[in-house]
């Protein structure tokens, strides 16, 4: 019924968020805002060595402190967990040894936070320190010092892929460029520290966990496995989430510890991390040590990419191989590359573990590809915008990984930013110290598989309609601030012709709402969209059956809009939605609809095939213009342009907000952000004054555009937009710095003193800065 060019009523409009009023009033309830009767507070004691055997834990004095209700150590629950339960290493509390500075070793439940903290001081832990590794390249050569006993050479996972014939292709390439690149150790930086409120009801044997988590379905699985409880006795409820960005995908030890304590004492227990503990938990982007080689033919077409990637996994398995394969998969787009070889190794180190961060895997590979594209362009005498147009994918492209890009408007994005920024007029022509840089990017719109072997639907929506409650959509979807609640209400409202503000949403509750695969990999609007649309079509069909009889009209002629149901051919035949519903309830009975979504099955068969295939891809192109103060090395952003293909923007204001936020995260990584460890393996900056995220005064104005696009495979034409725009930011800056001062950086953050070192104005460590590209491209070999 809904065609591509239909005049949508609420879809595509920049309507205000459904929860906006609550949030501006301070009434939106985040987990730490919750207080249950009888609730007590938990706190966790953290390891003060980077790697060490736990010789003893003495907590008698803590137990004796008045107001303390329980103290537990790792032996309470020595069951390791991870998001995908593949080689899990993380425990609720460490057992036998700790593997990073800040790991939890004991926990306390007490009548208030103050008492809990004082109790922590009374717990005595003795460690036997072990040698530790902070660099994966060191850790991988040391088999005698294993961080995890089964992990030879500290290898978590190795994956290899080879499509086509890379060596032959490179040998016959007209130009070949290569470099070592390093992506930094950044943190998701959500403002709401993780909080877990566990409420074990001993009478029912039911555990309810209120917590800020992106994937309640998998959290429920992790709780069941780790606490050895049946899943139907566990309920996960997600209150308002204060930002997540991938860092709240996994269970935190605090969630398990709060559950254990609650179960032990039969009272609700709340554990809220301090900001320092948030940094200790980390679970953000994988720093990658990458070597990439890229070949071009004489016309500038990419011939091959050879990619070696060492991922720094930190101390635990976390997302593990998923990230490794994501980096591999994201190499294949948004440019056509016929031959690709990838070697990925995820290595353990004694640092807060890495996991998932917005544009997972994409940020790392974009640094390499977008830099090498520019280098190739230089070597071949082609402009950076042209080399990208030459290689950009179009709708219908099939990657060597047998992934079909069913819809793409990437070229429109490139053309748009090139024109608006004046790139051609500026590149190579600005005065020394000023530069302009371009980069492209993309991201998947959900994966083809769940995190465990199963072919069940990825999203299910149920819609209940009656006069007593109006329209209620039940869907597991979790809103983390990106606006999924609003967009789901818009979709249901569009389909049913009601006001989006009157749609009730029961979501992010594993007991009340049907399973949803979760908020990650930018899948939600697309996946939920299909489910909601299908559920709406289902419930409409039932309602129209009755309404057609009521109006004396063929049911195929019926449509909803503005709170009414009417015939499109005889518009005078209409009835209010309320009345139609009443009629249905009276004559047929309860009105329900259900719909689901399962992504298409990918066709490829190769190592790592589970990761990468996606039903749709979003695209983005960005340009940054900078001015470098060549005496102080400081970088000032003069302009920032973006163009994105997100299919149809269901809520353009929300889309723009996502783009701005994504760029601000990328800018922070490009210019300021990195977590730094000291010589004892302790983090030097687990706080917001020395882990420097952009402030209002650091953000440039952004000239962004949503290009005209509509993905026909999508329920409403939409594709991802939340993650892709992070990817191009760092390489746009790297390319702009090259244009400004003729130095190609291969790592971030672009701190002023690195700029001065590269300019030779001050001496850096060592003779040649490690973060600067070595050598010219090989060029000119005949095919």
């Amino acid at each position: 019924m809904l065609e591509q060019n239909r005049d949508f009523k609420v879809i595509g409009r920049s309507v205000p968020r459904v929860n906006g009023a609550d949030k501006v009033r301070g009434k939106a309830i985040f987990t730490d805002d919750m207080f249950l009767p009888g609730m007590v507070y938990g706190r966790i004691k953290h390891a003060t060595v980077a790697h060490g055997k736990i010789k003893s834990i003495n907590f008698e004095k803590a137990l004796e402190l008045p107001g303390v209700l329980a103290v537990i150590t790792g032996t309470e629950c020595p069951k390791p967990f991870s998001i995908n339960n593949y080689k899990p290493t993380e425990l609720p509390l460490a057992v036998d040894k700790v593997v990073y500075f800040g790991e939890g070793v004991a926990a306390v439940a007490a009548k208030d936070e103050k008492t809990a903290e004082r109790a922590l001081d009374l717990i005595e832990v003795e460690y036997e320190e072990l040698p530790f590794f902070l660099d994966p390249r060191e850790a991988m050569g040391q088999d005698e010092q294993r961080i995890h006993p089964w992990a030879e050479n500290n290898l978590n996972y190795e994956g290899n892929q080879h499509f086509g014939d890379v060596d032959n292709s490179l040998e016959h390439s007209h130009a070949v460029v290569e470099n070592n690149f390093y992506s930094s150790y950044t943190n998701c930086g959500f403002l709401e520290p993780q909080s877990a409120l566990a409420d074990f009801n001993p009478g029912k044997g039911l555990l309810t966990l209120y917590t800020c988590n992106q994937l309640p379905h998998y959290l429920q699985h992790t709780l069941a496995r780790t606490l050895e409880m049946p899943m139907e006795k566990i309920r996960v409820v997600i209150p308002t989430v204060g930002g997540a960005f991938g860092g709240k995908t996994e269970a935190t030890p605090s969630m398990l510890v709060a559950s254990l304590l609650s179960r032990k004492i039969g009272r609700p227990v709340k554990i809220t991390y301090t900001r320092k503990e948030v940094f200790f938990q980390n679970k953000s982007r994988h720093p990658c040590h990458m070597l990439m080689k890229m070949g071009f033919d004489a016309k500038g077409r990419i011939t091959a990419v050879d990619f070696d990637n060492i991922l720094d996994g930190g101390a635990h398995s976390s997302w593990g191989f998923v990230v490794l394969w994501f980096v591999a998969a994201l190499t294949h787009l948004p440019y056509k590359i016929p031959n690709v070889r990838y070697r990925g190794r995820r290595i353990y180190t004694n640092k807060p573990s890495t996991g998932a961060q917005r544009c997972l895997g994409g940020v790392q590979v974009r640094i390499c590809v977008e830099s090498l594209l520019d280098q190739g362009a230089s070597a071949l005498g082609i402009s950076p915008c042209d080399i990208r147009m030459i290689n950009a994918v179009e709708s219908g492209y099939k990657t060597p990984t047998v992934v079909e890009v069913r819809h793409a408007e990437f070229k429109k994005c490139l053309q748009s930013v090139t024109a608006r920024s004046g790139f051609r007029e500026k590149y190579g022509k600005l005065p020394f110290g000023r530069g302009i840089g371009m980069a492209g990017g993309h991201y998947s719109t959900g994966g083809a598989f769940l995190l465990y072997p199963s072919y069940r639907p990825h999203s299910t929506a149920n819609i209940r309609i009656d006069n007593e409650s109006g329209v209620t959509v039940f869907i597991g979807a979790t809103n983390i601030g990106q606006g999924s609640n609003t967009v789901i209400c818009q979709m249901a409202a569009e389909m049913l012709g009601v006001d989006y503000r009157n749609v009730h949403l029961v979501c992010q509750d594993t007991m009340l709402a049907p399973m949803d695969n979760g908020t990650y990999d930018s899948r939600l609007t697309y996946g939920a969209g299909h489910a909601v649309k299908n559920a709406a079509l289902d419930v409409r069909a039932k309602l129209f059956e009755t309404t057609s009889a009521l109006l004396g009209v063929r049911k195929e002629h019926l449509e909803c809009g503005d709170g009414e149901i009417f015939s499109v051919f005889e518009p005078e035949k209409r009835v209010s939605f309320q009345k139609a519903v009443y009629q249905h309830l009276s004559s047929v009975g309860a009105l329900f609809g259900t719909g689901e979504y399962t992504p298409p099955q990918p066709k490829g068969d190769y190592e790592g095939k589970l990761i990468g295939p996606s039903p749709a891809f979003g695209f983005t192109a960005q340009v940054v213009e900078i001015e470098i103060d060549i005496d102080t090395g400081q970088i000032k952003v003069l302009g920032y342009w973006e163009a994105g293909d997100c299919g149809k923007a269901l809520n353009p204001m929300a889309v723009e907000g996502q783009v701005h936020g994504a760029i601000s995260m990328g800018l922070g990584a490009a210019l300021f952000e990195e977590m730094v460890m000291d010589s004892n393996g302790a983090m030097l900056n687990p706080n917001f004054h020395d882990y420097k995220m952009p402030t209002t005064m650091d953000m440039p104005e952004i000239d962004s555009e949503i290009v005209d696009s509509y993905d026909p495979t999508s329920a409403f034409g939409n594709k991802e937009v939340g993650e892709g725009p992070v990817g191009p930011v760092i390489p746009a800056f790297l390319n702009a710095v090259y244009d400004a001062i003729g130095v190609r950086f291969t790592e971030v953050p672009l701190k002023p003193e690195k700029i001065l070192q590269a300019l030779g104005k001050i001496k850096g460590p060592g003779d040649i800065p490690l973060y600067v590209a070595q050598g010219p491209a090989r060029c000119g070999k005949e095919e």
């Binding site: 936070e113 103050k114 903290e117 301090t274 005496d631 102080t632 090395g633 400081q634 210019l671 300021f672 730094v676 030097l684 900056n685 004054h689 020395d690 420097k692 952009p694 402030t695 209002t696 005064m697 650091d698 701190k751 002023p752 003193e753 001065l756 104005k761 001050i762 001496k763 850096g764």
Partner: protein, 291 residues
């Protein structure tokens, strides 16, 4: 995260405060804005038994200027009030600039100028300009008041000449030299909420008869345990025509006269380099403004 326990007192007069300090000495800490102190207590850098809130005292408030005599600034005056003071902007411009550099609007509303000196962080913004004005602190104790040159009062990282039974009551900033102006600038990574990597304050007077530099004082921040004067640089400038050669020489001298360290925020090498860059820029700005 809660703070360890302490007692709280809020004296209403200076005499009461002095009595309390006499009793508790270094078991007490004086509270003005709290933006440093509360963090220090939380991190157990200090563990006072008693926190004494001096915001109720009249003598620590107010900015008063007397023509010819100079400025008196109460120690509890908030940084945002320093920034908004017309007289400070008119006559002590670098101090106005320094106040504006501090942290964020919230921190400027809470933090006090007294705390900025007493807490003696090497990166504090208001001490370098005050040092270039020859400012003194007025300390009140059981034996009455004594004045100490700010340059001598701040001894090093978190260390001042204050006695346990004294408190900092006010700053006394002399009348600026005739035909003079001042400038202050910082280097940091982000544009707000930053702890400086390096900063420079200059105070320059020109002789209108011969166009030479009549007076010059330079103080650098975040490149030494305390605000760092640059006497050799000053000597290069005094009595000279302010041409490029003279300014570059003075700036180069600033680079050698500081003692920066390598830390998380920047290397010593970088800090040395940028104080030279800042000194040259600020000297040029100040000289141009006066001439």
């Amino acid at each position: 995260m809660g703070l360890p326990p302490f007692n709280y007192m809020a004296p209403k007069t200076s005499a009461e405060l002095v009595d309390m300090l006499a009793e508790y000495g270094d078991r007490a800490r004086v509270l003005a804005g709290g933006t440093d102190l509360i963090n220090w207590i939380a991190e157990k850098i200090v563990t006072p038994e008693v926190v004494i809130d001096l915001n109720g005292l009249k003598s620590v408030q107010g900015i008063t200027y007397q023509d010819g005599k100079g400025l008196r600034i109460g120690a509890a005056v908030k940084i945002e009030d320093i920034e908004r003071s017309e007289i400070i902007r008119a006559k002590y411009f670098s101090l106005y600039q320094a106040a504006g550099q501090i942290g964020s609007p919230q921190v400027r509303a809470m933090a006090s100028i007294g705390g900025n000196s007493c807490n003696a962080s090497p990166c504090a913004d208001t001490p370098p300009p005050l040092v270039t004005f020859g400012a003194s602190v007025s300390l009140l104790g059981p034996n009455g008041r004594r004045e100490v040159l700010l340059e001598d009062f701040i001894r090093g990282n978190r260390s001042t000449a204050i006695a346990p039974d004294e408190f900092l009551e006010s700053f006394l900033v002399p009348e600026p030299w005739p035909n003079s102006t001042s400038r202050y600038e910082t280097i940091a990574l982000r544009a707000a909420q930053e702890i400086d990597v390096a900063s420079v304050a200059v105070n320059v007077a020109m002789d209108p008869k011969n166009g030479c530099i009549a007076e010059a004082r330079i103080a650098m921040g975040a490149v030494a345990p305390k605000p760092q004067r640059a006497p050799k640089a000053e000597a290069v400038l005094l009595g000279r025509q302010p041409n490029d050669d003279v300014i570059e020489k003075a700036a180069a001298s600033c680079s050698t006269e500081c003692q920066p360290i390598d830390d998380l925020r920047a290397s010593a090498t970088y800090r040395r380099h940028v104080v030279g860059v800042l000194a040259a820029r600020l000297l040029r700005q100040a000289i141009a403004a006066v001439s």
